[in-house]
């Protein structure tokens, strides 16, 4: 009884704070401050048509680097926690086959899903999309492949190499930005200028960085889901 009363007290105080915030909120009518700078100079300094991509990859690229690190840490900790014990790894369970509709449809859909995911992260600077969305789409394609054939194993070495090489290459491009360009992870390097605005090869190093981020995120989420699927086997 006391517990319910305390919970109601906490929720009422949160409600009181939120009510005050809501009543004193005046909607903005113009872009002010740093958003005005990004809107005016984004197209000429960075060269990307999608301003959210310009902010994420070029202006605030340190935050994106931190997010990549957090995803890598999550994948590593989950691999550590859900490790199979030694006798379960040698036990091979043959599942009976899944239904025929699932197998036939997955053979048709999986190449299309991969193609769509690659399209989303290559054109991240022109249309809505980018590395994180493309990586999630690729991971859902991999999950469909795992569910349609439960006996299929994903080659662990391939995922590890793709993920590590993508991460190291992003940092190398960032350091090249210090040597040849304006700063860490800058979008214009000395020999690799901004292309024509609105085409695929524009915006300097942004498509390269975002494609690598998309591959890395896709590999990591596929690894997490593969660990969850494998842990179904043990008792």
């Amino acid at each position: 009884m006391l517990r319910n009363f305390l919970i109601a007290l906490v929720l009422a105080s949160f409600g009181f704070i939120f009510l005050n915030l809501y009543n004193s909120y005046e909607p903005k009518t113009e872009l002010t401050g740093i958003a005005a700078h990004y809107a005016e100079n984004g197209a000429s300094e960075v060269g990307a048509a999608n301003l959210v991509t310009a902010v994420v990859v070029s202006y605030r690229s340190f935050d994106t680097l931190g997010e990549i690190t957090i995803l890598f840490l999550t994948a590593a900790i989950i691999s550590f926690f859900l490790k199979l014990s030694n006798e379960d790894e040698n036990k091979i369970i043959i599942h009976k086959g899944t239904s025929e509709i699932l197998q036939t449809a997955s053979q048709l859909l999986i190449p299309l899903i991969f193609l769509f995911g690659v399209y989303v992260f290559i054109n991240g600077h022109l249309t809505p999309g980018g590395g994180f969305q493309g990586g999630a789409i690729i991971a859902s394609g991999v999950v469909l492949a795992i569910m349609a054939n439960p006996n299929m194993t994903i080659n662990h070495t391939v995922i590890v190499w793709v993920e590590s090489l993508s991460g190291v290459t992003v940092v190398i491009i960032g350091v090249l930005g210090i040597i040849l360009g304006g700063g860490f992870l800058d979008s214009t390097l000395d020999g690799y200028g901004l292309g024509e605005f609105g085409t695929v090869f524009s915006a300097g190093t942004i498509p390269v960085i975002y494609s690598l981020v998309g591959l890395k995120v896709g590999a990591e989420i596929s690894n997490i889901l593969n660990k969850y699927q494998k842990s179904q086997k043990e008792s």
């Binding site: 319910n4 919970i7 906490v10 929720l11 949160f14 409600g15 939120f18 915030l21 809501y22 909120y25 909607p27 903005k28 009518t29 113009e30 872009l31 740093i34 958003a35 005005a36 990004y38 809107a39 005016e40 197209a43 048509a49 999608n50 301003l51 959210v52 310009a54 902010v55 994420v56 605030r60 935050d63 994106t64 997010e67 957090i70 995803l71 999550t74 900790i77 989950i78 926690f81 859900l82 249309t127 809505p128 980018g130 994180f132 609105g198 995120v217 997490i224 842990s231």
Partner: protein, 126 residues
């Protein structure tokens, strides 16, 4: 109906989802229900952040032909704020990482004690 525009509606719905999420975390006894309430809380706070960047009558922050026609090549008058959207993009991915970690811990806890009520896990209680 003049006072209810899209930014204020989003703000109100976000705040209400945060309160519902907190109620779930504080009151429930099943670990999986607590994690579900945590995801609802995440969704609510992301809605609040995007609603703060909305400006009435403007469009998405992508420069293409329609935006240029709308504003006579003066982009700063035609788009909503792009900075909160960039922050929410990061926050959604990190929220997914935290949820998957919580579920891995929940699986390990269940394997240790065969129950999912938080009242049974009092090894560290003083």
């Amino acid at each position: 109906m003049e006072t209810l525009e899209l930014g204020k509606i989003g703000l109100l719905i976000g705040f209400l989802l945060v309160i519902v999420g907190f109620w779930g975390i504080l009151q429930q006894k099943n670990i999986i229900k607590i994690i579900v309430s945590f995801t609802i809380l995440n969704t609510g706070i992301n809605l609040v952040m995007v609603a703060l960047g909305y400006i009435k009558g403007r469009t998405a922050p992508i420069i293409d032909d329609s935006v240029e026609q709308l504003a006579n090549h003066n982009v700063i008058n035609a788009i909503v704020d792009p900075v909160p959207q960039a922050l929410v993009l990061t926050a959604i991915v990190i929220g997914f990482g935290v949820t998957s970690l919580l579920l891995a811990y929940a699986m390990k806890l269940f394997r240790a004690k065969k129950t999912l009520e938080i009242n049974q896990f009092n090894d560290l209680k003083w």
